[in-house]
């Protein structure tokens, strides 16, 4: 066969398989910032059991993780550390902004504030926002499902019923 007539190599199927694998084994980095971190811990514990969604392997080192849950207030002093941690995570990687502080500065925004990053998306790209102060563990779990949906393009479980 002539060289031009070769079918183009496609990794689409392989990518899909990989995405499925990634979505079902997200490894979050152990990185608690403030109050929201306690709810993050709760969601990893017996009652809420984040392991059901394959995300229970919290890693103390960013080099072994592919998901960062920013659970709390990001201050100007912490910002460079957070960015370093993000940079150290291998790609592909995702970020969940958990709680109002991580989303927008939350309750600590006031005129003349001098130590707050008003939203972690000013530092690193954020994939899923989970609002609340703190969000309930169920909220974080829904955030996980959303992230899995974003990675694979499909939602695994039926979504919450819209009531409002």
């Amino acid at each position: 066969m002539e060289k031009e007539n070769l079918p183009p190599v496609s990794f689409a199927v392989l990518d899909q398989v990989l995405d499925l694998a990634r979505a079902n084994s997200l490894w979050p980095v152990t990185f608690g910032l403030a109050c929201c971190a306690i709810e993050m811990m709760s969601s990893a514990m017996a009652r809420f059991d984040i392991d059901r969604f394959g995300a229970g392997v919290f890693r103390p080192s960013p080099r072994q993780a592919d998901l960062m849950i920013v659970s709390g207030t990001v201050t100007k002093k912490m910002a460079p550390v957070l960015v370093t941690l993000y940079d150290q995570m291998p790609s592909p990687k995702w970020v969940i902004a958990m709680g109002n502080c991580a989303i927008s500065g939350g309750p600590f925004v006031f005129e003349g504030q001098y130590n707050l990053i008003e939203g972690v998306d000013k530092l690193v790209p954020v994939d899923v926002y989970v609002p609340g102060c703190p969000p309930r563990p169920e909220g974080l779990l829904e955030g996980f499902l959303k992230l899995q949906e974003k990675i694979t393009g499909k939602r695994r479980f039926p979504g919450p019923v819209e009531r409002w």
Partner: protein
């Protein structure tokens, strides 16, 4: 005691004017206004009489800066407020860090936030802030940091001081529970020195307090110490009630005690889980959280939140408790009583745990006083002070309970004390439920707009981590003029470098964990 101290003060310092204050209104018995040069002598005077320095803080009155020192004593109820007036353009005062070790830390804080120079202080570098913040945040006017001062603030670089090996523990470290950074100077496997670096979670709470009304600040309290949110909430509302003279119905007092004690159990449970996880045992974490969830369910039903409670209001509660709450609390008590045997099997009797904590991080009485540690850490050292007994608030005067005290002051003692405190809490809750009075849960005419009397107040409560002191200066407006939070974790952390010296690196985790630190509370 108060009269004795007053007489002794007068005898020792002839030209001193000592004012007697109303303790129920101000929270201290005597107040003394000084010239800067006398402060060291006065501090030695109190030091000789076994007083501890509860807090040192600054207030900016625009015409002058004021330094406030509160001296208190463990053995009886006697508090003295000492004030110094400083020139706001060139504020300077002698350091007390040679007499009281805790002053070393407080002075660094005041230096950063007010620009007060402390003559003779060994290390005035950044503790909370960083060079991106180039003014003194707690001054009322925006005063830039001078170049010279900035250089000094920024001069912290341990590696340049000598060529030992330095290890950073944190700010992202699984066992610091938050974002605490400790720089450890190592000699092989042994720790030679430790320097905590704070402020990675400095959320400007004290500045915020000056910007909001008393009501608006309420939700912040639960976010300072998120594990003992109820205690902080309670401390704040009782302080403001005391300042503004608001009466609280008896039912509210009792419910406050029940809710706070439930929260205390939650906090201690989380400590047990997290501490054991630090030491390498993960299963107690799961058990502790299981128990916690049960308590949180009960609290959530009446307060509406799981963690950052904001349940108390000035003059009472946000809403009344119902029968389901009482039944739920009783079920929690029954369940928890049966769990202690399990924790004893799982943790208390575990040889690995005992060997890792026995004789580690021993705190002596004298050292505990110099650093003004409080709470279980103080009681572990053998000083059985509990503010719920010593300066009772809410319905605690009517409760009958023991104060568990340790013998050795090591990490193992702190574990046993916290377990016993949970049992104590259960007893208190049981008594409070049995005697829960009927009646309103909030005063009828809860003030819509709060304008407390002019003056100041230092109010203390016992949180799961120890003495929380709230110092409020009111200028009769609806916002506090100055609000200082003397937080227990901050003073408990200060003692860490002393405890870590000479220990193995792996023991640093065991010591740090035993202090039960909550970082947002330290950083405020």
């Amino acid at each position: 005691m108060v009269n004795k101290i007053k007489a002794e003060l007068q005898a020792a310092f002839a030209d001193l004017t000592i004012a007697e204050e109303s303790y129920p209104q101000c929270g201290y018995h005597l107040s003394v206004d000084l010239k800067a040069k006398d402060i060291v002598n006065i501090a030695s005077f109190f030091d000789e009489r076994s007083f501890y320095l509860a807090v040192e803080l600054g207030v900016d009155y625009k015409e002058y800066l004021e330094l406030v020192y509160i001296f208190s004593i463990h053995s009886s109820l006697c508090k003295v407020k000492v004030t110094l007036k400083l020139d706001p353009s060139q504020p300077a005062a002698p350091t007390l860090s040679k007499i009281y070790d805790c002053a070393y830390w407080y002075e660094r804080e005041i230096h950063e936030f007010y620009g007060v120079r402390f003559d003779g202080h060994p290390d005035l570098t950044y503790l909370f802030l960083h060079d991106g913040i180039d003014f003194y945040p707690l001054r009322k006017e925006k005063i830039p940091v001078s170049e010279k001062d900035k250089q000094e603030l920024n001069s912290y670089s341990p590696a340049q001081r000598d060529d030992s090996l330095f290890i950073n523990m944190g700010p992202q470290h699984p066992s610091t529970h938050g974002v605490l950074r400790v720089v450890l100077k190592m000699d092989g496997e042994y720790i030679e020195d430790a320097y905590p670096v704070l402020g990675y979670l400095h959320r400007m709470q004290e500045k915020m307090a000056e910007n909001r009304t008393y009501y608006q600040f309420l939700p912040n309290t639960g976010r300072m110490d998120y594990l003992g949110a109820m205690s902080f909430n309670l401390g704040y509302v009782t302080a403001v009630e005391r300042l503004a003279g608001i009466d609280v119905p008896a039912r509210a007092h009792y419910v406050r005690v029940i809710a706070t004690e439930l929260n205390r159990i939650c906090s201690h449970l989380l400590w047990i889980g997290a501490y054991l996880a630090d030491l390498g045992g993960l299963s107690p974490f799961l058990y502790a959280f299981d128990d916690r969830e049960n308590i949180q369910d009960v609290l959530e039903a009446v307060t509406g939140s799981r963690l950052t409670y904001c349940y108390f209001r000035f003059g009472g509660l946000y809403n009344d408790v119902d029968d389901a709450f009482i039944a739920g609390t009783k079920a929690v008590i029954a369940r928890m009583r049966g769990r202690f045997a399990l924790y004893e099997k799982l943790v208390g009797g575990n040889l690995i745990f005992i060997n890792r904590t026995r004789g580690i991080g021993v705190i002596e009485k004298e050292r505990a006083r110099k650093y003004a540690v409080s709470g279980p850490v103080l009681r572990g050292a053998g000083i059985g002070v509990d503010l719920r007994k010593k300066e009772p608030y809410a319905a605690y005067p009517e409760m009958d309970f023991e104060v568990p005290t340790g013998k050795n002051g090591d990490a193992l003692d702190m574990y046993h004390i916290r377990i016993k405190e949970m049992e104590t809490s259960l007893n208190i809750i049981e008594q409070a439920i049995a005697r829960l009075p009927d009646g309103p849960f909030i005063v009828e005419k809860a003030p819509k707009k709060l304008k407390p009397r002019k003056g100041d107040l230092y109010h203390v409560v016992e949180t799961p981590r120890g003495e929380l002191g709230i110092y409020i200066v009111s200028d009769e407006s609806d916002k506090p003029y100055r609000m200082k939070w003397r937080v227990p974790s901050f003073s408990n952390l200060m003692i860490f470098p002393e405890l870590a010296k000479g220990n193995l690196l792996s023991d640093a985790v065991a010591i740090l964990g035993s202090l039960d630190l909550v970082i947002p509370e330290i950083d405020r």
